[in-house]
């Protein structure tokens, strides 16, 4: 079982309608069991299309899909092993949260009421209220709970934290960590870089229907540009060191960007009196931005 990928697609093509727009142009994707895979890309790149194919809500035009080793088209039971959160989570507003969760749990063969109650109290959600009267954030909580409540082997989450405040986003990160602790696989699309940085092992970047890159999050971080600020006791020197770019000297302060190894820069600085050294954590957002531009060029 361990060698079967949790998700595998080969040359996946999706065309909407006859001669309509092509959302996916031969997507090859492989997600290993137990990993957290971030699926990133601009709006309209094909993220939701891919996700909806994995759940057999839409059917591919060409190519093959395997989810937990099974073709989603061939078996509706497969969906019992998946927890799904749609990018735009909506449910009939005339029922209460508990009514919905009990119903969805029953469709999955039953989820204990204690499990639902416990998740609701962790997430501070009133299940007795009608869904129509809940705020957008509270509705999203309901979406998160229904995806996680049955502890599925595979979680497929489309923009899971949209509408959640930073505190709840952090709580979501905890939930994902707990899930991976249990050996669950997580496949999620996201725009929030901090949550990707905190949770994902690997990220795939999709653009215009094809996967342009798959990287380990650590490799990405290594290649990312780091902002460096150095304060000296006298006027700052002008340095010429490998890996340093955009160097600016402003009185006693030196600002630059550094990619890769910091050793050469540190050794060059060591010849001067350094009062303070500030190195900012690289922003993945900036990195992806350069990625997108790079591909475009």
């Amino acid at each position: 079982m361990a060698d079967i990928p949790a998700i595998q697609t080969e040359a996946l093509v999706k065309r909407y309608g006859r001669g309509g727009t092509i959302a996916l142009k031969g997507l090859d994707l492989s997600v290993s069991p137990g990993e957290v895979f971030g699926f990133l890309g601009p709006n309209g790149a094909g993220k939701s299309t891919t996700i909806r194919i994995l759940l057999d809500l839409i059917r591919p035009t060409a190519g093959s899909v395997r989810v937990l080793g099974v073709d989603p088209r061939s078996s509706h039971e497969l969906r019992g092993k998946i927890g799904y959160l749609a990018g735009d989570f909506v449910a009939n507003g005339r029922q209460t949260g508990r009514e919905l969760l009990t119903y969805l749990g029953d469709l999955r063969g039953g989820v204990p009421a204690e499990r639902i109650g416990q998740l609701a109290s962790t997430w501070d959600l009133d299940l007795t209220k009608r869904i129509g009267s809940l705020s957008k954030g509270n509705r999203q909580k309901l979406g998160v709970i229904q995806a996680f409540m049955h502890r599925p082997p595979l979680l497929i989450l489309d923009e899971p934290t949209s509408g959640l405040d930073p505190f709840l986003q952090q709580q979501f990160v905890e939930l994902v960590r707990e899930a991976t602790g249990n050996g669950q696989t997580v496949f999620m699309s996201s725009h929030v870089m901090s949550e990707v940085q905190q949770t994902c092992d690997r990220v795939g970047i999709i653009r215009a229907g094809t996967l342009v890159a798959v990287e380990h999050i650590d490799d990405l971080r290594k290649r990312a540009l780091r902002k460096i600020e150095v304060h000296f006791d006298a006027d700052a020197p002008t340095l010429s060191v490998a890996g340093v770019s955009d160097l600016v000297v402003d009185g006693k302060v030196l600002r630059c960007k550094l990619s890769g190894d910091a050793d050469a820069l540190v050794k060059a600085l060591a010849q001067h009196h350094v009062v303070d050294l500030i190195s900012e954590e690289p922003e993945l957002e900036e990195l992806f931005f350069t990625y997108y531009q790079h591909v475009e060029a």
């Binding site: 909806r52 735009d88 909506v90 009939n92 469709l107």
Partner: protein, 262 residues
């Protein structure tokens, strides 16, 4: 059967409302019968031209089977049953899909065919309950309403045909909705067939070139064989049921093949 029970639960208020309203209308018309059953009324009716009488199916209203065919089970009740059936059929798949709420349920381990058929089964039950309650109310009024000449068997026959008539429209709206995923198409086709079917069974019968349409009207299959006089018309019942099966099968087949809209 979880989807079936959820469907019943979600719609219970509306369905109870329709049952009460339709039974009340039928009861109202039925209790009006004693005031129709007098010679002055018969004379008044006889003064209408023959073509108008035919268009409105006007006959000797002092006989309960004639009065009931145009009043209790005539115009208003079948049209309301058709409206109810079309709205329930549209809601089953297309309405849910356009609201964006079908996505969530179909991401769960329930097959498309099972979900669709369980929802249609709930509509069958609703129509059966509506027709049964209406039937019992009218039968209970036979004594006080002075129409004991109308046997419970005949009343049952007309209610059965009415339920099948409703089922046909539910199946049509369900089928078009399940096929296309669009509410507007399901409503338009359902309402269109109802209107053309009604005209085909009434005014078009006065136009020689359009007379043939009467045989293809669901209204004719419902009341044309005069079940209040002749009992259940099995041929008509078969037509209603046959088309119901066809529409349900076609819509469900296509729903199982196609993409679910966001």
């Amino acid at each position: 059967m979880r989807v079936f029970w959820k469907s019943v639960r979600d719609n219970r208020r509306g369905w109870i409302g329709w049952t009460v309203a339709l039974s009340a209308i039928a009861a109202m018309y039925a209790s009006f019968y004693p005031s129709i059953n007098n010679p002055a009324m018969a004379d008044a009716l006889n003064s209408f031209p023959q073509s108008v009488k035919e268009a409105f199916h006007m006959e000797d209203y002092t006989k309960p089977e004639n009065y009931f065919a145009v009043s209790v089970f005539g115009l208003l009740v079948p049209i309301l049953v058709a409206v109810f059936a079309i709205s329930a059929g549209v809601k089953a798949i297309a309405g849910d899909e356009e609201a964006g709420t079908l996505d969530l349920v179909q991401a769960h381990p329930v097959s498309r065919i099972s979900l669709a058929l369980q929802r249609f089964t709930a509509i069958i039950v609703a129509l059966a309950v509506i027709a049964a309650v209406m039937c019992l109310v009218v039968i209970a009024l036979r004594g006080p309403g002075q129409f004991t000449a109308l046997s419970p068997g005949r009343l049952f026959a007309v209610c059965l045909q009415l339920a099948l008539f409703g089922l046909l429209f539910a199946a049509l709206a369900y089928g078009v909705g399940a096929w296309t995923g669009r509410r507007i198409y399901a409503i338009a086709v359902g309402a269109g067939v109802a209107v053309v079917g009604y005209l085909g069974d009434s005014f078009f019968t006065q136009i020689d070139s359009l007379k043939w349409m009467e045989k293809f009207s669901p209204f004719d299959w419902y009341l044309g064989g005069e079940p209040l006089k002749n009992g259940v018309q099995w041929g008509h019942a078969g037509l209603l049921l046959g088309f119901t099966l066809l529409f349900v099968a076609a819509g469900t087949w296509r729903y199982n093949q196609r993409d679910i809209a966001v």
